[in-house]
Amino acid sequence: MSTTLATQRITLAKGLNMGLRKAMEDDPKVLLMGEDVGKLGGVFRITDGLQKDFGEDRVVDSPLAESGIVGTAVGMALRGYRPVVEIQFDGFVYPAYDQIVCQVAKMSYRSKGRSPMPMVIRIPFGGGIGAVEHHSESPEAQFAHTPGLKVVACSNPVDGYWMIQQAIASDDPVIFLEPKRQYHADKADLDTSVQPAPLFTSRVVRQGSDVTVLAYGPTVKTALKAAEAAAGEGRSLEVIDLRTLSPLDMAPVLESVRRTGRVVVTHEAHVNLGMGAELAARITEHCFYALEAPVLRVGGFDTPYPASRIEEDFLPDLDRVLDAVDRSMGF
């Protein structure tokens, strides 16, 4: 029998699906667009069942043209809709790059605020799924570098449920990154009666005192596993799930670094000019005298994403994070 308990045990895919459904119920102007999002429910099934319940006018199967999807979504937003666009895979966002960077990001500025762009562009990102080329990338820095866009990454089912709704409610365009490897992996308890944190905030997900580990999206799980392993060796890692990449929420990061004096940043994206570089710069600017070691980065190497048989060597894992922790402690 069903219960009235607010708590459900869900995957990230389910959390996102429930969040999208709730946003569509709450606001008739919300509509979904993308390749295969309708009858199929998306290649990852994130929009499963939504077209059946909300109709083809609100869950729109699009032609296979990413610039067309984002460009027409701009027009819909100008007409007063709140489009939620699905880019099927991270590596397929580039045909839409011009529309995102030159149009979506600049419309509010160009129009002196008269034409805001309340649009969400969902991008499954990250690797580790054994896919072919272009299906495992982490393009977040390219969007975080662009003024006018906001960029967030969820890491767990509960955040997926809340953050997608908050992103849709935002009057600014949000690049919404979803760690695809996590979609159907771990389950968590969602209690919809608990108020979520604001969207553009970072969160300490494990407290510690020796080294601060900054992560987002798929590497949060990696960082937590590393912290667990480090604890066995008597090392205390504080793990922060950044959640928001643009704007960055530096307050909890700086507070943590002032206590630990040591930072390791980990992301799947290439380290060169990645989020870690910006974080390192800001930490240095604000916590220079608190630092006991340089900010270290653990990320993808500066190669194109490799063939999947060796992708686990490319991706940051527990051991590489712990290795960086060792090097930080060694300073």
Binding site: L31, D57, S62, P63, A65, S67, G68, V70, G71, T72, A73, V74, G75, M76, A77, L78, R79, G80, Y81, P95, D98, Q99, C102, Q103, K106, S108, Y109, R110, S111, K112, G113, R114, S115, P116, P118, P147, G148, K150, S170, D171, D172, F200, S246, P247, L248, M250
Partner: protein, 390 residues
């Protein structure tokens, strides 16, 4: 055997003439025309209507004033008052015909050259100058005029137009039969943009969803220095068939024909019958912009040839020949144009520069703390100079 270098434009050879008619450069036999360059009223089996003297005089006035906006703005650039200006000389009929065919509830997505359409939508021409003077990126309220901001990236706006039209479908303002309710969108672009992926994707989306959008291409035959033959080996309007909707080529220097064809295309869209591609066959009499030098890449003979097809002269001849306008009318229009010129000159020079701190405005609907901190930091930096204003 031809020893023509690879990539050199062969022009339209005999095979293409066979397929598409004798002369692409003259617009071809399919060209819809209602007023010849000599000012003779002719008729077309599919697109025709009667025009009152008032209507024709109105078109004439619109075109003369639009040309004055253009020539004054070009002069303002030469005087250093504008950084750049995108000229429309020769395209007045295409723009006034398209602009006057609109209903108030229709919506327009322009390029950066639609000064005549802006005029028809009631946008103060002074506001057009802000962008070219460098004081803003566009200052009119799109919602007030149903006229979007100028889009510099060519073709990008055709997708916005299509999406906007898809929004209209969802709002139930298409195909209701109510002339005050049913609405359509015009997507402006040029022959150069027809090569852009976005334009082709816009065609596909519009066709797929049967969106109420009219794709209005002013084929002025030059994309800066690149001739139309570099963009297309078939008449542009014939591309529409491949996307699954009708295409029409109209004499873009004929305001009566452009108006009539656009009215039909817009009505088709408002009625829910989907997109139409209208190619307004015209000629860019001026330069691409004031930074361009067309003498480097085209023959003055071509320009002279097109001067004979001037869009305003033929209407003037028509009005005079039929006694539809007297000397007082023409004098009044000239005086109005002169006054507009004065207003533009004075208004442009009086336009205030933005303030440095304005650059931080409207990046976001909800400003971020980090941008607010940058703003405050720069304000403090500016204030640190001796004698700085607050």
């Amino acid at each position: 055997m031809s020893n023509q270098p690879i990539g050199e434009t062969p022009g339209f050879g005999p095979d293409l003439v066979e397929v598409f008619g004798p002369s692409q450069r003259d617009g071809g036999p399919e060209l819809v025309q209602l007023l010849t360059p000599e000012g003779e009223r002719v008729h077309h089996p599919d697109f025709d209507r009667d025009f009152s003297a008032d209507e024709v005089r109105g078109f004439y006035r619109d075109m003369v004033l639009t040309r004055r906006i253009d020539t004054e703005s070009t002069a303002l650039q030469r005087h250093g008052e504008l950084g750049i200006w995108a000229q429309l000389l020769g395209q007045e009929a295409a723009q006034i015909g398209a602009g006057r065919a609109l209903r108030p509830q229709d919506y327009v997505f322009p390029t950066y050259r639609e000064h005549g359409v802006a005029w028809c939508r009631g946008v103060d021409p002074l506001k057009l100058l802000g962008l070219f003077r460098g004081v803003d990126h566009g200052s009119w309220d799109p919602a007030e005029h149903n006229f979007g901001l100028y889009t510099i990236v060519i073709g990008a706006q055709t997708l916005h137009a299509t999406g906007y039209a898809m929004g209209m479908q969802r709002d139930g303002v298409v195909g209701t039969g109510d002339p005050d309710r049913d609405a359509a969108v015009v997507a402006h672009f040029g022959d150069g943009a027809s090569s852009q992926g976005d334009v082709n994707e816009a065609f596909i989306f519009a066709a797929s969803y049967n969106a109420p959008v009219v794709f209005f291409c002013q084929n002025n035959q030059w994309a800066i220095s690149e001739p139309i033959e570099r963009q297309s080996r078939i008449p542009l309007y014939q591309r529409a068939l491949g996307f699954g909707f009708p295409g029409v080529r109209v004499d873009g220097n004929d305001v009566l024909a452009t108006y009539t064809v656009m009215q039909a295309a817009l009505q088709r869209a408002r009625d829910g019958q989907g997109p139409t591609f209208v190619e307004a066959y015209t000629y860019r009499m001026g330069a691409h912009t004031t930074t361009d030098d067309p003498t480097r890449y085209r023959l003055s003979d071509d320009v002279e040839h097109w001067k004979l097809k001037d869009p305003i002269a033929r209407v003037e001849v028509y009005l005079k020949r039929h006694g539809l306008a007297d000397a007082d009318f023409f004098a009044a229009i000239t005086a109005e144009a002169d006054a507009l010129g004065v207003r533009l000159r004075e208004g442009c020079k009086a336009m205030p520069d933005p303030q440095p701190m304005d650059m931080f405005e409207h990046v976001y609907a909800e400003e971020t703390d980090e941008l607010a901190a940058q703003r405050a930091g720069y304000a403090a930096y500016l204030a640190s100079f001796e004698g700085a204003h607050s």
